[in-house]
Each structure stands twice: as structure tokens, then as C-alpha cells.
Amino acid sequence: MTLITHPSRHPATLIAALLGAAALGPFSAHAADTSAAAQLERWQVQAAAPGSVERGKALFTSKHGGDLSCASCHGTPPTSQGRHASTGKVIEALAPAFNPLRFTDTAKVDKWFARNCKDVLARECTALEKADVLAYLANLKP
């Protein structure tokens, strides 16, 4: 009887439509207005200092007083699929050489840095920290 009494049974059409949108999402909704190299440059200019692969790796893989590191969801190294630490949802590879869609949308970059830095560091990241992370990620090659 689960089949007919579950409340989520009837919005099947809606969910199918949502799925369709999700499948198209990364390709249709995000204009490729930037690149990983451009984002590295952007943060280096703001920080007035070059990003460091070593510092970026340390920031990415360590915890900062909380339960999570960047790597908790993105993996170590973030060159293949990760999993959301609490929901288990698959997160596609973060390193740009392993996922060409990464760092191609400025608004998305800003949104996720803001959210995830608050989750991991309980504050926003500085421009230098973002430059470091970009330097680390851009340095990961197949």
C-alpha cells in the first residue's frame, strides 16, 4: 500500500520535470564566463600575493575547529567524485583538470566559497586563501 499512500507519489510529473532541469542545469543555465586560471588570477590580484599550492593543500585537507574539512565532501585529492558529508549525495570532481565544468561560472564560485568556508572555517575565506585553494586545485593533473 505504500505505493498509493506515500504523499510524494503524485508529484511524479513535477519531479520528472525537476530532474530534466537538473540534468540540463550545468550546461544550459551557467554561461562559461570564467575559468580556473582566471579565478586564480582574480584572487591573486585581490590578495596582492601569489597563491601557494602547499598552503592551499593544507587548508583544503585540514579541519579548522569544526567537524569538516573541504576534503570531507570533495575527497583527497578532489580528483574524483566526492560525497556530501551528511546527505551522501554525489559531488562531481572539483579539480578543474578532472571536471571541465568547475570554475566556469563566477556567481557559482562566489556562492560556494561563501557557503563552504562558513561550514568549514566558520567565516568567509580571505582572497589569499581562495588563491591558495585555486593554486592547489589547478596543480592537480591527471
Binding site: 525537476l18 551528511s86 551522501g88
Partner: protein, 153 residues
């Protein structure tokens, strides 16, 4: 017995959606930003799974969203919030506002999952009761059929 059961289900499948049609507003149009913004960390749950006041509280508290920061730009938040309000669950079962606005704490959810031990939900392959697709392979297509349930080890 199985055949009779299937026949019964087939008949019900024809009747039931009609009976629900006026009780559950299904959005004429999906909102792509909902799937994009809300579906990146978890399944894009159907709006009908929670009542409007629950969605409103969730949208007002995205900065502290079940342990993570899910904040949105004001434009997207407004648009998604309005869409959720317009499409929230209104029929009897979902009218109840579950504790902490968690659909997994709704009476209907607990009743449906009472045979599933709490430690099953905590398995590494499942992680949380909110991970519908872990066991309901077709959940993101709206298929919660008991026959399709596969509980991962």
C-alpha cells in the same frame, strides 16, 4: 495472490491520482533554479512533502540549514520561496508541520519506515533518512513503490 495484488494496484493507480488531483497542486511548471540550488546537496524534494509554513521557515533560515550554510542570493531565494509556497503540500497528511520542519520526522514518514531500524539509516551507504534515493532508486522520478525498494548494505 501476487497477481491479484498487482491487479488491485493497477486499479488503484488509475483511481487514486484522480482522487488526489484536487487536493495536491502539482506545479504546472518546474522551477529550474529549485533543482539547481536545492538539488546540489540533496534530492530536490517535491514541494508537496512539506506544508507551506515549514517551507517558509526553511527559506528564512538558509544560512543555518540543518548544519550547513545554504544561503542564496535574495533574488533566487525569493523566487524559490514563492514557488514552494505555491506548491507546498496542502492535503491532510502533509498539513502537519513536522518537528524542525524535517519531512523525515513527519508522522507519515515515520509510519512508512517503522520497519526500518534506525541504524540502517546510519549506514555509510545511506547516511540519513533524507537520502531517499539510497533505497528508493526511482525517488527522483517520484517512484516510491515498495516493490522497488533496495536497501543497500
Amino acid at each position: 495472490m501476487k497477481r491479484r495484488c498487482n491487479a488491485l494496484l493497477a486499479v488503484l493507480a488509475l483511481i487514486v491520482p484522480m482522487a488526489w488531483a484536487d487536493g495536491v497542486p502539482v506545479p504546472r511548471q518546474a522551477l529550474p533554479s529549485y533543482a539547481q540550488e536545492c538539488g546540489s546537496c540533496h534530492m530536490a524534494f517535491a514541494p508537496a512533502m512539506l506544508p507551506a509554513p515549514s517551507w517558509q521557515r526553511i527559506m528564512n533560515g538558509l544560512g543555518r540549514h540543518y548544519g550547513t550554510d545554504a544561503s542564496l542570493d535574495p533574488g533566487s531565494a525569493q523566487k524559490i520561496g514563492a514557488w514552494l509556497q505555491a506548491n507546498a503540500g496542502t492535503y491532510k497528511r502533509v498539513r502537519e508541520e513536522p518537528p524542525q520542519d524535517r519531512m523525515t520526522q513527519s508522522n507519515w514518514f515515520l509510519r512508512k519506515h517503522r520497519e526500518v531500524a534506525p541504524d540502517v539509516f546510519r549506514r555509510a551507504s545511506i547516511k540519513s533518512a533524507a537520502n531517499c534515493t539510497a533505497c528508493h532508486g526511482g525517488a527522483d522520478q517520484g517512484n516510491f513503490s515498495e516493490h522497488a525498494v533496495r536497501i543497500p548494505k
